[in-house]
């Protein structure tokens, strides 16, 4: 049986799809048979970030509506052979997804995968609820910023009340906090929430901290999950997060401002605060 992991946040634009792509790729690099599903029907993006947009023939809606077999819709990644992508439909809306249909897709995928990642759309409406409904674990993506933290708090409440595990009163969905777009210099200047503050409010275990990095935008634009960029701090942070997810004990990196900012700070830092 595969583990179903939802990547969710409540708020949009915090890095759910980037995280889904990186995390799925990272798990697959470790030899785990992984499939990542785009639940953002109508605003499909995952295929772009994964660089498979030119290979999409069928999508999850076709499968649910019986117009295609699952094997026809799954796209196998060319870089990591244990990774596949199930794209969303761009021409439909979220009502095209049904709980029974999604249940069937997940059950079928479950047979020959270790991990099923569900890339949730933003919000707490139907698409997001379906993406988290079957989850065994949740990666809650949060920016160090008050509105993102509050929305993550909301989605954690939803996970504990509206997921299948909650409805069936089984063990609760296992939660992981992933703080993304963390900029240590702006944190030091008090322009962003400190990691401790985010952790105190959300009170769930920290899976990783991904620093703000230009390499993320570059990775998105070239359709290469950022975890494949071994030069990138963001990519390395995602690698660490995957390691921790698989039970490794790794120190947290990229939490302090980099040295090169030192001189600049010494020159101008005195005037702040």
């Amino acid at each position: 049986m595969a583990q179903v992991i939802v990547v969710t946040s409540g708020k949009g634009g915090v890095g759910k799809t980037t995280t889904s792509a990186a995390f799925a790729t990272g798990l697959a690099q470790r030899g785990k048979r992984t499939v990542v599903i785009d639940f953002d029907v109508g605003l499909r993006n995952l295929d772009l970030i994964m660089g498979v947009e030119r290979r999409v023939v069928f999508d999850i809606v076709n499968v649910i509506q019986g117009e295609a077999r699952l094997s026809q819709a799954l796209i196998r990644d060319k870089r990591v052979d244990t990774l596949s992508i199930l794209p969303a439909s761009q021409t439909r809306d979220k009502d095209a997804l049904t709980r029974d249909g999604v249940a069937q897709v997940i059950e079928e995928l479950s047979a020959d995968h270790d991990y099923i990642l569900c890339d949730s759309p933003a919000g707490i409406e139907k698409g997001a609820l379906l993406a988290l409904y079957f989850a065994d674990q949740a990666v809650v993506v949060t920016n160090p910023e008050v509105s993102s933290v509050r929305d993550s708090d909301r989605i954690l409440g939803v996970l504990q009340s509206k997921s299948k595990r909650a409805e069936e009163k089984r063990d609760k969905v296992k939660e992981h906090l992933l703080v993304t777009r963390y900029d240590p210099e702006r944190v030091a200047r008090g322009e962003m929430l400190k990691l401790d503050d985010v952790q105190e409010i959300l009170a769930i275990p920290l899976l990783g901290v991904v620093p703000e990095s230009e390499s993320v935008l570059k990775a998105s634009n070239t359709g290469t999950p950022v975890i494949l960029d071994s030069e990138s701090n963001a990519g390395l942070a995602y690698k660490d997060a995957v390691g921790r997810f698989l039970g490794e004990d790794l120190p947290y990196r990229f939490l302090e401002p980099e040295r090169k900012g030192g001189l600049f700070k010494r020159l101008f830092g005195g005037r702040a605060a």
Partner: protein, 255 residues
């Protein structure tokens, strides 16, 4: 005191119940019953054998105009069980007693004998706490008697709402911004209180709010409320208890 020699045959305990109130707007059973019947045919099974309280506060009628016996019979026929009345004039209540419907008192409300005029709705709305005078003529202080506490050990998250009905509420984690905790009794938060806390929701002006780290969006006791902006001189970020003194909210550091 029961004699220890005899085996116990009963125990008398206080209990809090939440009941539906059927507020009469028309005194004539022949009008009310068919309308009720219609309503429940649409939702069969709903309210079946449910105990119900008949609300008289909206009724502008002389006692002889209301045939309580016919009403009770009709309700029984609809499989609804009336158990008493609430509100209304003393004369109306007398007429109801004659038909086997004793006057009830809403939790924290006044004794019906004291309220002769059609009273304002007794229970404070937890939706939108608004200032209301504290209940006069409170019975002797039995707070705590028969009241249990509801215990919450997980963080109360944004968008969640927890109501401890007829009870105290104890939260051993944080109450985050955007969350709401409500209790008919006291509220204890052994963490940071960043959301809303509404204590004494059933009009208990003696209820208090305790928080280890006091940083709320809104607090209310028995309908009196203060938003964060109005908490200028309250000891924010400290361990605090909040209580009502007359119409004033008092914030006192704890420990």
């Amino acid at each position: 005191m029961s004699s220890p020699a005899l085996p116990e045959s009963f125990r008398l305990r206080a209990g809090n119940f939440s009941l539906l109130v059927l507020r009469l707007l028309d005194p004539r059973p022949e009008t009310v019953l068919p309308a009720l019947g219609d309503q429940f045919r649409r939702a069969p099974g709903f309210l079946r054998f449910a105990p119900i309280v008949i609300g008289l506060q909206d009724l502008q009628a002389a006692p002889e105009e209301v045939d309580f016996r016919a009403l009770v019979e009709g309700l029984h026929a609809l499989e609804i069980v009336p158990i008493g009345t609430i509100g209304g004039s003393a004369a109306l209540r007398q007429a109801a007693i004659a038909a086997g419907l004793p006057p009830l008192r809403a939790a924290g409300g006044k004794d019906p004998a004291e309220e002769d005029m059609p009273p304002p709705p007794a229970a404070a709305s937890t939706e939108a706490p608004a200032p209301s005078p504290p209940a006069a003529g409170q019975p002797p202080d039995f707070r705590g008697a028969g009241r249990t506490a509801m215990l919450v050990t997980e963080p109360v998250r944004s968008g969640q709402r927890i109501y401890a009905q007829g009870a105290d509420l104890v939260v051993t984690a944080t109450v985050n911004a955007g969350a709401e905790v409500i209790a008919d009794g006291n509220i204890h938060v052994y963490g940071r209180l960043s959301g809303r806390a509404v204590a004494g929701a059933a009009d208990d002006a003696g209820a208090r709010i305790f928080a280890l780290n006091f940083d709320p969006e809104l607090i209310a006791i028995a309908g009196y409320y203060a938003v964060r902006e109005g908490l200028g001189d309250a000891p924010i970020g400290r361990a605090v208890q909040v209580r009502l003194e007359g119409e004033q909210m008092r914030f006192e550091p704890l420990g």
